[in-house]
């Protein structure tokens, strides 16, 4: 056996001197209890939003795309802004579960389950926008390259928009598999604790008859690694391809080679902010402060300041290159972004995305719950503005001044956006009631290394000399 040791300088990731039994009980509690009034209230509000969204979409499908505020010059408005925004948010989950798994970051275990769920729901929200942007939504299936009776009619494989269809559906599928396969042992735990027959039956079905044998675990671990390996390139590819939607064009402000990595950094930035928003609420409402600790929130805040600064460098690089290029169209595009009628959206983006995360250089603020919560929302406001700046405020000044335009959303666009919030929170509330919001099995896996009890036991090892320590490590069992 390998010596389980971690330096004293790392803070415990599980507090409260937990045993394996406590871990199971604590995380299953919200599932086994009746939901609180707050939960019902949240669900009703979310369903109302979802209903309004459905009505807005119905209105748009019935009357046509003309009920939206987009126009001939600004052909992409809130719809594509919201699409990119939601897809971006959908990045954190798989990043946490795949890349942090490969990096052996133990702190992922506290947050990965909820983050993956968030990813899946966010991608579901994102997918709505391009579909309903089509207007004649009953023709949506034409994006699929199926053998057909339409003769030689195929989608345009040269189009980045089609690549998006493949990228996002693949990402969704793999994320869903990853999330679900992680849930299997936990479903079995809930099944084994179930008091009613129906519960036992349903969770038994969901757990695929998991029995927890060594063979089960072996296959489970192998599958996790394979899916992590598959997801890692997907995390990077999805937003890369979303950035191609813009960067493959020759529109000044869109045609920039920095777009792919900068979109990925921005996506991770907004995704982590959304994870923080949700988890700060979840830990409070379900009393999971001992599993989602200040250390977890601080770690995510560190990722936020890192990715926020990367995005900041990208903004400044774009701005600099627009000038440096000495191409008048590039220069004008950025002049209109920064100083034009939409100046407020550019400066909102800069303030929220580049300036505000810099506060997280300070440890006090990284570990302040209220501040982290507010900032996580500020970041996502900023990231929404980023997409709006890229889309609407690039299109609104066309080459020909007679095409210049301005754009404001109409109520069905607004309703559509609010509706996706309804969908997102409906799904998340149902998830948090019926699914374990923290990966029980994975917490148990790291408990003996990163729990506060394990840390206390390790203090004796800190006093040992290097030779003694090596001796202990070699004879650990």
């Amino acid at each position: 056996m390998h010596l389980k040791y971690e330096s004293f300088i790392r803070e415990p990731l599980v507090d409260g001197n937990k045993t394996y039994k406590d871990v199971t009980a604590d995380i299953c509690r919200p599932i086994e209890q009746k939901p609180s009034k707050l939960w019902y209230f949240g669900l009703v509000v979310s369903l109302l939003f979802l209903g309004f969204g459905a009505f807005s979409v119905f209105w748009e499908v019935y009357w046509g795309i003309g009920v939206w505020g987009i126009n001939h010059t600004i052909g992409w408005g809130w719809d594509i802004t919201n699409f990119v925004w939601w897809v971006g948010i959908g990045h954190a989950g798989t990043l946490i579960s795949a890349i942090l798994l490969l990096f052996r970051q133990h702190w992922r275990t506290g947050v990965n389950r909820a983050a993956e769920a968030m990813t899946i729901f966010a991608v579901m929200c994102a997918g709505q926008f391009p579909i309903f942007h089509m207007g004649r939504v009953w023709d949506a299936m034409y994006v699929l390259p199926l053998p057909n009776t339409r003769g030689p009619l195929w989608p345009n494989f040269n189009s980045a928009l089609l690549w998006d269809v493949f990228a996002i559906s693949t990402y969704f599928t793999v994320s869903l598999l990853f999330w679900y396969s992680g849930l299997i042992p936990d479903f079995a735990t809930i099944r084994d604790r179930a008091k009613t027959k129906l519960r036992k039956r349903l969770y038994g079905l969901a757990s695929f008859g998991w029995t927890g044998t060594a063979k089960n675990w072996q296959r489970f671990e192998a599958l996790s690694l394979v899916l992590a390996g598959l997801s890692t390139p997907l995390v990077l590819s999805v937003h890369t391809i979303v950035s191609f939607d813009f960067a493959t064009s020759v529109i000044p402000g869109w045609h920039a080679t920095i777009f792919p990595p900068y979109f990925v950094a921005g996506a991770i930035f907004s995704g982590f902010a959304m994870v923080n928003t949700l988890l700060i609420l979840v830990r409070k409402i379900y009393h999971l402060e001992e599993y989602i600790t200040m250390g977890h929130i601080e770690a995510m805040n560190k990722v936020i300041v890192l990715t926020g600064s990367i995005v900041g460098i990208a903004y400044l690089t774009e701005l600099f290159m627009a000038w440096y290029s000495q191409v008048v169209y590039e220069q004008e595009a950025f002049k209109w972004r920064v100083l034009g009628p939409y100046w407020w959206s550019y400066w909102a983006m800069m303030t929220c995305n580049v300036v505000s995360p810099q506060f997280f250089w300070f440890k006090k603020l990284r570990r302040n719950i209220v501040f982290s919560f507010i900032l996580s929302i500020v970041v996502n406001i900023g990231m929404w503005f980023e997409r709006f700046v890229i889309i609407a405020t690039t299109l609104y000044r066309d080459y020909i001044p007679s095409n210049w335009s301005y754009y404001s959303p109409t109520w069905p666009e607004l309703g559509f956006y609010l509706g996706t919030f309804g969908l997102f929170f409906t799904c998340f509330l149902l998830f948090s009631k019926y699914f374990p919001v923290i990966a029980i099995a994975e917490i148990k896996f790291v408990l003996k290394t990163t729990g506060d009890k394990a840390h206390e036991d390790n203090l004796a090892l800190e006093e040992k000399s290097l030779e003694e320590f090596i001796h202990i490590a070699e004879h650990a069992h």
Binding site: Y5, F8, V250, S309, E318, Y324, Q326
Partner: protein, 402 residues
Amino acid sequence: MTDRFEVPSGLKKTGLVLSLIGIITLIAGAVCFLGKHEETGLVRFWMGLMQNGIFFLFMAISSIFIQAAAGLAQGGWIVAYKRVPEAIGANVWVFGLLVLIILFSMIFGLGDHNPIYHWVNPHGDKVLEGKSTFLNKGMFIGFSVAAVGLWSFFGRKFRSMSIAQESAPKNSTKLYWKTVSLAGAFMVVYGLTMMSTTPWMWIMSIDAHWYSTLFSWHVFAGAFVSGMALILLWTVYLKNQGNLVLVNKEHIHDLGKFMFAFSIFWTYTWFAQYMLIWYGNIPEETTYYNKRQNGPYSFLFYLNIVVNFVGPILILMSRPSKRNYFTVVFMAMIIIFGQWLNLYLLTYPGPSGHNWNISWYEMGIFAGFAGVMILTVSKTLTKSDLIPHNHIFLKESVVHLS
């Protein structure tokens, strides 16, 4: 337990011989190329120095970067061989100084019609005149001196703080947290130099009309992957000498993962830049790739992808290959060659055109820099115990599993 390194006479000899080859090549190059007063010779002489100098400097700075990155991420895995990046980082100033001498000579010594940096005198070129607020001698000196100065400072500071930890009380965390702050400060510097202004000024401005927003990140990716390869070479060398007793396959596996992952990241940036310019098909932009993909550089252009992408992804993909000393050392050499080639393709085609060479001169200068690297880094390595006994994460590094 102590782990002192003494420079074996063989290594010292190798370093001296390589440096000597460098000096002889330089003199021979000066005689052959500068004597005839022809532009092609002049370009070849300076390009050889510049491309090799920048290559070694960027590779060395990656050692500071990885210390800062591991510091901020609280990485325990690197501690077993921490002295290696420390020693490389502490010698960044040597390469920085050499590069500054080379670059300033090129800015000031190549006359009115600078064959490499056309922007030195725009001669009525509207685009270059427009860029002259950024591309001028004063800015060039300012940015270059500041960048090299800061890198040199941080490189030495990281090492000296790590050495100071050895005489601090056992399990004292004061210096540890100071290093974390230092790492944060370095990241800001790094973002504003290596990931933006420095590659624009030194490399992108060779093709002075052309621009790409991704350029510096691409250069960074290449520098970082070659830097990790260099750390691996030194680590395995020291291990073979009987030093670095704490290092085992787990640590080598980590370095292998970095070489694998960042080879792919390099390819990602390469592809993003290439594909978007190809797809956009704007003549002002495609001219850059047209020069490289078609014509005399065509073979090198495709070789670049094979060496830096196809090789690493196929060979380093599997777990056993990343844990095999021979394979990782072989691949580290391949990657260093590959990234050298990549920098060659970023710098040469503009000024050299059809008159490109990879011959005695280019290789001789490379040997010279390699000699300097061997002599300086090995000397620094002898100055302290190779085990950072008092480091907070040392014990984690002992039980580290990749």
